[in-house]
Amino acid sequence: MKKIILVLLLTLSVYAAPRVGDNAVTFTLPALYEESQSLSSEELKGKVVLLNLWASWCSGCKEEMPLFVELQEAYADKGFILVTSSIDNEAQSAKDFLSDVDPKKRLTSLYDADKILPKTYRCPGMPSSFLVDKFGVIREVYIGSIDASSMTQLKNKIDKLLGE
């Protein structure tokens, strides 16, 4: 009986959502603008990453996106990369929105048609963002949109991680 309970607990732990301190989910996703190109999480090793899961139909996602563009511009050459992954049913919806907000394509935009990342991360809300350190470990999880006040805290955390 003990074995059965142990197996059940292990099974449940497999389905647990990744948390702070866990390794970030590995992925390979196509670029939003160039479907022939793709980005793998392995290519992000050695950089501090903010992985943002968003959709054009999500109002909170749209609110925080201009702040993300500014953030990426500020940290362009400092070893930080902001990766946005759209889960829209149609990629064009995401492209249309980003063409207004990020016309210079500062953000690294991916397209997750099958919603692999939110399913794996078991996102309890949209948008969701994950701050990942240089070693691929999740250091912070943000559920919901990031506003101007929390952006200051986020910048402090990025600075700290860049210095590690």
Binding site: W57, C58, K119, C123
Partner: protein, 72 residues
Amino acid sequence: MKTLFLLVVLLLVSGCSESLVLVMPYEKEYFAQDKMSLSPIAERAEQEGHIFLIREASAGGESSFQGGCGCR
């Protein structure tokens, strides 16, 4: 212990129940569409509210400040 085992099995099996279907936040694209809103057009909602108020008031319903004449 058998009871505990049965409880766990029941808990797992109950996950298959239709009543427990859960729409995750990332699956709400269709729900986010304007046409899914109860009042998709704000201006029309205000007008409909006005008409509703008049209609119900005439039947002695929601409010007593209008008598069903349609005037404000």
